[in-house]
Amino acid sequence: MTEPVLEIRDIRKAFGALKASDGISLDLREGEIHALIGPNGAGKSTLIQQIAGGLRPDSGTVHFLGEDVTALPAAARARMGLARTFQISSLAMEHTVLQNLVLGALGARGGVFRFFRPVMKDGALLEAAREAMAAVGLEELARTRVADLSHGQRRQLEVAVALVLKPRAFLMDEPMAGLGLEGSRQMTRFLDGLRAEAPILLVEHDMDAVFALADRISVLVYGRVIATGTPREIRADSEVRRAYLGEEDMA
């Protein structure tokens, strides 16, 4: 078997007496969508932060593309090809859709410290930005400021900015949040195709989406992974039922 793209080994993080991550290990393999589910307060966001580089774990390691990145800041991990989307859209609100994407393309290419050439006339950056914009269907809003976009459009842009980085792995924190039924379905279809480009570690509350998309699911409860397996295995797992899913969802 090939080496996993992303591997988290025995991560621990405590805030005072609260063990937000209590020895978590999981990995993300090429070509898969690995969903991370768990009730509110299970420590999903803390885990995502530690993988992305916003928080340092107390102990344990994060390996990305075979390298130990535990000590690297978020920007360095992003440059290696770890693209994240935020639970709450995190974009440059005064900039246009196109500018946000060009910023992403610039981050991926490098060469930020250039002071004279207009960045919005850089053919290569524009090309990459347009491609990502087309992939999520935002072309017509290229010149719209993010502040004037709807919530759903911001979620799409959030994914498009991750896409423009041409990453080796996606880290997605609730991409469906607040999308509504039709929006969620579209996003589900989109993510389904995306796994061919790069594997996705997906934190999501929308169980329809999770069970439709995931190759594997890990269940996080009180900072521990209580089960990892295929959707079928997770459905059947009695501990998961008790801890999280609730009998009525299992029908």
């Binding site: 992305a52 580089g53 916003g54 800041p73 978020a74 920007a75 360095a76 992003a78 440059r79 693209a83 994240r84 935020f86 995190s90 974009l91 440059a92 609100m93 005064e94 900039h95 246009t96 196109l98 500018q99 946000n100 060009v102 910023l103 992403g104 610039l106 981050g107 991926a108 060469g111 930020v112 410290f113 250039r114 002071f115 004279f116 050439r117 207009p118 960045v119 919005m120 850089d122 010149r143 400021r145 900015v161 980085l165």
Partner: protein, 327 residues
């Protein structure tokens, strides 16, 4: 052409027309006022890179204004006394050459900004404001207690420094130098704002987490912006000292930091010509209202209050409307 571009042209031409008229009418005092406008505007253009583009509320830009001033004062005073700055290991003499003084002013303030920025940019919000202020105050008290260069009394330079081919003591010629530098700085800033660096800096102002997530470290971008910003303000300090032929610790005073910030806010934060409009308004008020009442700053305060409450884009924003999204 956008409304703002037209307005910018009007401001630029106005700042040129007034001293030309004063020159024809033999009103040297007005030329000196216009020169002050150009120099303060340059200091504001510098601050606007940090404050407007980068969202970095530096309350210590007087540090760089003062360093630029003392770069001029120290070099010119040594040239005046024919005593070299140092003889060993290399001989460094004073100079009266403006281009050399400018270079030293720019490099010295940039280096200072590198140190001050590297420390203060680790904080944000009110701590950043206080740390930048503290650095400027440190330099203020240092120059007061530094007897070699006049201490509290400052340094007088008898002759204005020289620029090849020009008579710098002629007010209109010195104005031309300051005006040309201001235009060059504005051109540079306009390019900067649209460059890759400008995009990253503006994005870091709006959302640092986003910038990090695409692989750019906001700290570095901000530090470079802070250094560029300081270099321009330092250059303005050297010109200001040359205008007055005098440097003193007052150039490091916190009220100078405040004045530069006030004129940027009056004219329009993050607007290219905001500092120019703001400096012109500031000098106008100082001289018109100052002639009517000693308490003219009360009116300045009221005006500032009005701008902050009702016209966030300052004078430029009021006339030209919301900034068009540049692309």
């Amino acid at each position: 052409m956008s409304r703002e571009a037209v307005l910018n042209g009007v401001i630029a031409l106005g700042l040129l027309a007034v001293p030309l008229w004063a020159w024809a009418a033999d009103e040297p005092f007005v030329i000196t006022l216009a020169t002050r406008v150009a120099i303060l505007a340059l200091a504001g253009v510098g601050l606007n890179i940090a404050l407007g583009l980068g969202g970095l509320v530096s309350f210590g830009h007087a540090a760089f204004f003062g360093i630029g001033g003392y770069a001029m004062g120290i070099l010119a005073s040594h040239a005046q006394s024919y005593e070299p700055l140092m003889e060993w290991p290399v001989l460094i003499e004073g100079t009266r050459s403006m281009p050399v003084i400018w270079l030293v002013a720019v490099v010295a303030s940039a280096l200072a900004a590198l140190v001050i920025g590297a420390l203060s940019l680790r904080t944000s919000g009110v701590y950043f404001i206080m740390i930048t202020l503290a650095f400027a105050q440190m330099l203020y008290y240092f120059t007061i207690s530094w007897p070699a260069y006049g201490g509290e009394d400052g340094l007088s330079i008898y002759l204005r420094n020289s620029f090849p081919g020009l008579n710098t003591l002629d007010p209109i010629q010195f104005f031309a130098i300051c005006y040309a530098i201001l235009l060059a700085a504005l051109f540079f800033t306009a390019r900067l704002a649209k460059s890759p660096f400008g995009l990253a800096l503006a994005a870091a102002r709006q959302n640092a987490a986003r910038v990090e997530a695409v692989g750019i470290r906001p700290y570095r971008v901000r530090l470079v912006a802070f250094v560029i910003s300081a270099a321009l303000t330092g250059l303005a300090g050297a010109l200001f000292a040359d205008l007055n032929r005098f440097v003193s610790p007052a150039m490091f005073g916190w009220n100078i930091s405040g004045e530069i910030m006030v004129l940027v806010i009056l004219g329009g934060v993050a607007r290219l010509f905001g500092p120019v409009a703001g400096a012109a308004l500031f000098i106008l008020l100082e001289n018109v209202l100052g002639g009517i009442s000693e308490y003219w700053q009360v009116f300045l305060g009221l005006l500032l209050l009005g701008v902050v409450l009702f016209a966030r884009g300052g004078l430029v924003g009021l006339i030209a409307g919301r900034e068009a999204t540049h692309d």
